[in-house]
Point group: C2
């Protein structure tokens, strides 16, 4: 990571590529017990949150990621009443989840309270549903919370984490996925942000294999653009307990009563389409 | 543009964002009568061609762009016999076009011969169809060529150009599109690379309006990932003479007899799906 001549630049060693934004000023910087967090004001992307040198969120393009982490799973499940978000401290995924009237409870389990406090200050639009009576914000270890969760009580678990290094490392393995499986009701869905389909293909395969090894019945990967992450192309992977994932409620999505900026029924199906190289690599 | 500590970095003023690649060495640099061209060897992206400071092609990710510039139009036209590429000097689009057996002639009209000569040396895989007897490589002004082209002789025109500044500026306006319209047979299709759906939305609208003003009957924009271009998300826009664009030969694409790495029938439909904000912005 470097800031030169008013550009924040994230150099991503693993892929040998970098993404940067022109910044006006550094608004805030701190070291929490878990990580370092910086907030910048940019010239064209609104506010920018950086954690441990990696771009997490910009005002301008976060809608892509947050909508795609929430709506595909919620429109695949017949009626998700209890949703848990592991990580997701910026509250953007929580906001999208709470757009669904069928959701009776949405718990966000973020290890670092400072992420949420800074989001409330610098990304207030992402936090506009935090006071929804259905929302509960916990600031504890998501791995421990999931291990202790009562069995068969959840409908959807969304793992909205940073990269699998640092505090998020334990969210990308079979043991954690097995805890998620136990906590989900039959037909429940696990959603994991699964990195770049181009740059992180080996990791994507590892995630999918770990989900299957943990006992999930069906696994599907969706792709979508995300300019502020390495390669600008990102993915989420859905895993389902007991049944398959071909239950997209297309009419429900087409008639949704809330607004989105990227997601719609067409984009849902588009995200499920598999490029040739991914089909081959994932054996689909 | 800057090279620091072995990173090539393209700073894109218009969007306030940058994309970079870790480079091993500069392999070649020259000023042609039209532009400056550099070739780098990168650590993770193969070779990198830079024109006037802008990333044009990397070995690793060019398949996305080249496949999406060629196959959607060729599988929408019932039988494209004569195809012309304006620009496209790296020859990657030409290679994709020539994968189609129905194509009897493919003419590439590139203003700068040096782009093609350097592609032959540093991107030989993109040039592997240059000696196909159906291929013709011309190194002249594409605007002039199109203005003088005999009427109703072409089935597809692909404008595979650099950004609309410098030599490519005249490829993005109504006068040029009108020449393309005249040169196309009824049912013929114009394809224009139309920049980032997120960062260049005003330009995308201008392109679409110019196509309609030139007399094209139908216009559709497709989106696809392209990590080496600003925002990592790109688009092409198709315009058709006389008839609409809803004639995707899905069975033909599903049964295609050549290999691709991104394109397939599913991805064709996925690329046509419109995110909510684009629907709204483009009035679709």
């Amino acid at each position: 990571m470097s800031v030169e001549e008013n550009w924040f630049n994230e150099r991503h060693d693993y892929s040998g590529s970098s993404i940067g934004f022109r910044v006006k000023q550094l608004l805030h910087a701190e070291k929490t017990p878990f990580q370092s967090i910086e907030i910048y004001d940019t010239t064209d992307w609104g506010k920018l949150m950086v954690i441990d040198g990696c771009t997490m969120v910009t005002t301008r393009d976060n809608f892509l990621y947050h909508e795609m982490m929430a709506h595909p799973a919620l429109f695949t499940h017949p009626r998700a009443k209890r949703v848990v978000i592991i990580g997701g401290g910026d509250c953007g995924t929580l906001r999208e989840v709470l757009k669904h009237d069928e959701v009776e409870s949405a718990v966000q389990v973020e290890i670092d309270e400072r992420v949420t406090r800074l989001a409330e200050k610098y990304f207030p639009e992402l936090c506009e549903s935090n006071s929804d009576p259905r929302a509960q914000l916990l600031f504890i270890d998501g791995i421990k919370w999931m291990a202790e969760c009562e069995g068969e009580t959840l409908d959807i678990v969304i793992v909205d984490s940073t990269d699998p290094i640092g505090p998020a490392e334990g969210l990308f393995n079979e043991a954690f996925y097995h805890c998620c499986l136990k906590a989900l009701r039959p037909g429940g869905i696990l959603v994991q942000q699964s990195e770049s389909p181009l740059a992180h293909l080996p990791l994507l395969k590892t995630i999918r294999n770990a989900m299957k090894a943990a006992g999930f019945h069906a696994v599907r990967t969706l792709t979508f653009p995300q300019p502020c992450y390495p390669t600008g192309w990102w993915s989420s992977t859905l895993a389902r307990k007991g049944v398959d994932l071909s239950t997209f409620r297309e009419r429900g999505a087409a008639a949704k009563q809330f607004s989105t900026r990227y997601y719609n029924a067409e984009m849902h199906k588009a995200a499920l389409a598999m490029p040739e190289f991914l089909k081959e690599a994932l054996g689909e």
